[in-house]
């Protein structure tokens, strides 16, 4: 019951004019950014980070939370209307969304199914977050430097290992991110290191310009390839009347949405898994349940399963982020970086020391879910116009926001140069099939890891046995070993014909 009281207090915080406006703005921008193919929630949050500096931390994170959350709604729009997912979690939505829009000539209904199931999945995730977040934080309170080191190593290695096809690349980027983060001042002694005689590097690599470049400017370079590709429209215009669902369709989406929401929330809590994995797993799971039409032909159940799962995962990802300070994805890492910039340290003490902030954010997610549903319905008649904005117009817009935004965070051209270099690095990495999520996560978590690791070694006087003597850290070490052994086990299972090899689509 305490949690519900805290949640009500959170709603009191959210229902200020500034916070309501921030939620609404975040939702609208999230829907638009999510719907635009090629931008995505990660770039959206990174590009908007400088704009939130004027707000207080609660309002700022409410806006970014709303943006991240509503992005999951928006990602489905272009998946359904153009067969191009606006964001990676919407990949599975194309399988049934696009056939429903084209073969069945019902794009409006496909959008409505997506919106309602997103709402249901998100709501389930938020209810679970309300009750499990503080519990997780209480568990985290018993963590000392040894346990925190093991937990952070687990979070970083798992995302490095699980994101993308190649675990070696993921781990390389994780370790590279840790090294980049170690430049500047030493966190414990305060002495400069790896500054290479450059006065700017004494402060380390600035987070916001680095992220803006890595995910925003690199995306601009990638978009150059698509700037002359005109999307195929499934309809000339959409109306709200054509988007209404029949009683049978509404009934059919309920159970897949509930299942998807539960599964998605569980997957969202795990580091490295995220909304994309959640929607893939939920869609696969739906194959074992009854569907009135075969999946892949425009089935209501197919759209509902993946859309509810990715929204459930988006909400679930806030539990480890707030309670333990461990983001589950690249976007989570950007949100965590933002929190640190505003002087907040997410972790077990957040619910205790800053309850207004923690519960205000959770309450804002509930509000964002309602607003995103309302706006995503209201925007249906204008979607074709919004999504028809040519990529070639977006390129200068995003370039300017990248440059101006990275300048504004440091009030110096150093920020712009960092953004520019990290943008080129991000582009080259994408071309070589390196995912930047592990790099971002490692960059954000590295100072925390170093601090805890050094404290653990001071306690143990240099012995690594301390990690095996404490039960919680031992459990994480075993989990790391299992994840590390997984590719080897998978290799032998594929060789033995017991597992199928993943093939690029």
């Amino acid at each position: 019951m305490d949690n519900l009281n805290f949640l009500l207090q959170g709603f009191q915080i959210v229902f200020s004019l500034q916070n309501l406006a921030a939620t609404l703005l975040g939702c609208i921008l999230g829907l638009i950014i999510g719907a635009m193919p090629g931008i995505g929630s990660l770039a959206g949050c990174a590009l908007l980070l400088p704009l939130t500096y004027k707000f207080n931390p609660t309002t700022a994170i409410i806006m970014l939370g709303g943006l991240y959350y509503s992005n999951m709604y928006g990602g489905a729009f272009s998946a359904i209307l153009f067969n191009i997912p606006g964001d990676t979690p919407a990949i599975m939505t194309t399988l049934d969304g696009y056939p429903m829009a084209t073969k069945k000539k019902r794009p409006g209904q496909a959008l409505s199914i997506s919106n309602i199931s997103s709402f249901v999945g998100g709501l389930i995730g938020m209810v679970i977050l309300t009750f499990t977040g503080p519990v997780l934080a209480n568990v985290g309170l018993s963590f000392g430097p040894v346990e925190m080191t093991a937990l952070l190593l687990f979070a970083m290695t798992s995302i490095g290992w699980l994101v993308g096809e190649n675990p070696v690349k993921g781990l390389m980027l994780t370790l590279f991110g840790m090294l980049v983060a170690s430049m500047g001042m030493d966190t414990l002694s305060g002495s400069p290191r790896y500054d290479f005689g450059n006065v700017y590097l004494l402060g380390g690599v600035p987070f916001t310009p680095f992220v803006i470049g890595l995910v925003g400017f690199s995306q601009v370079i990638m978009l150059m390839e698509q700037r002359n590709i005109a999307p195929q429209l499934v309809a000339d215009k959409l109306t709200l009347r054509d988007s209404m669902l029949s009683k049978n369709e509404a009934k059919r989406l309920v159970m897949p949405s509930i299942r998807g929401g539960l599964l998605g929330t569980f997957v969202g809590v795990l580091p490295g898994a995220g909304a994309t994995a959640a929607s893939i797993m939920s869609y696969s799971a739906q194959k074992y349940f009854k569907s009135e039409e075969p999946l892949g032909t425009g089935a209501v159940e197919g759209i509902a399963a993946c859309e509810s799962a990715n929204n459930g995962a988006a909400a679930g990802a806030f539990a480890p982020l707030l309670a333990l300070g461990i983001p589950g994805s690249g976007t989570g890492a950007v949100l965590l970086g933002g929190l640190m910039l505003w002087g907040l340290n997410p972790g077990p003490l957040l619910f205790k020391n800053s309850p207004d902030f923690a519960w205000g954010l959770i309450a804002s997610l509930f509000l964002a879910n309602f607003i995103a549903l309302t706006v995503s319905w209201g925007v249906i008649p204008f979607l074709i116009k919004i999504l028809s904005v040519p990529t070639k117009l977006l390129i200068p817009c995003i370039t300017v926001v990248c440059i101006v935004g990275s300048y504004s965070t440091s009030n110096s051209m150093y920020g712009v140069i960092v953004m520019f270099i990290s943008g080129i690095l991000g582009y080259i990495m994408q071309k070589f099939d390196y995912s930047y999520a592990p790099l971002l996560l490692a960059f954000v978590l590295s100072p925390m890891l170093e601090s805890n690791m050094r404290k653990a070694f001071i306690i143990s006087r240099g012995s690594v046995r301390i990690f095996l003597e404490k039960p919680i850290s031992l459990a994480f070490i075993i989990a790391i070993a299992c994840i590390a052994l997984f590719p080897i086990v998978r290799y032998f299972l594929i060789k033995a014909g017991l597992m199928k090899k993943k093939t690029a689509k």
Binding site: V168, L188, M222, F432, M453
Partner: protein
């Protein structure tokens, strides 16, 4: 998949990233051990402790990455993509001469009107939208003191 995705396997650019990572790792390990120190009997871990361990790990992974990279397909870097980089670079250079906001304005017009071949109507509408964001959000609201460039500084002096 786009036309740019057709790629062959073998030796080439794929080995560049592991080599760069290995070089960075070796540098960090060397500096960590030589310059910042690894371990002190009384104080425990020194500033070079963590980067040295991580650098060593990165070096090992880079060697593995180098070996596995021969199985990867070679990426293609379309020449047109680098125009975005040149565009960004031109704003940075222009900022030092005429200031950031005029550079951004000129970039938008040149890019849309002459590079993309958009009509004047589309160019000016997009220009107005972008400048409204820059001036409205960053100059008026966030009050960011954008650089004025050498020329404007000289004129104002």
């Amino acid at each position: 998949m786009s036309e740019y995705s057709s790629r062959k396997k073998g030796f080439g650019g794929n080995q560049i990233m592991p080599i760069i990572f290995a070089a960075v790792a070796a540098l960090f390990v060397w500096m960590g051990l030589k310059k910042y120190g690894f371990w002190h009997p009384a104080k425990g871990p020194l500033p070079g402790f963590y980067p040295t361990i991580i650098g060593a790990g990165l070096f090992v992974m880079s060697v593995l990455g180098f070996i596995f990279s021969f199985k990867d397909k070679k990426p293609i870097f379309p020449r047109e993509n680098w125009w975005a980089v040149i565009g960004g670079l031109s704003i940075i250079v222009g900022t030092f001469i005429i200031g950031l906001i005029p550079s951004v304005g000129i970039y938008v017009i040149v890019w849309l009107r002459w590079f993309e071949g958009c009509s004047w109507k589309v160019t000016l509408i997009t220009f107005a939208v972008i400048m409204a964001i820059v001036i409205g959000c960053f100059v008026l609201w966030l009050q960011v003191p954008f650089p004025r460039g050498v020329m404007l500084e000289l004129i104002l002096k």
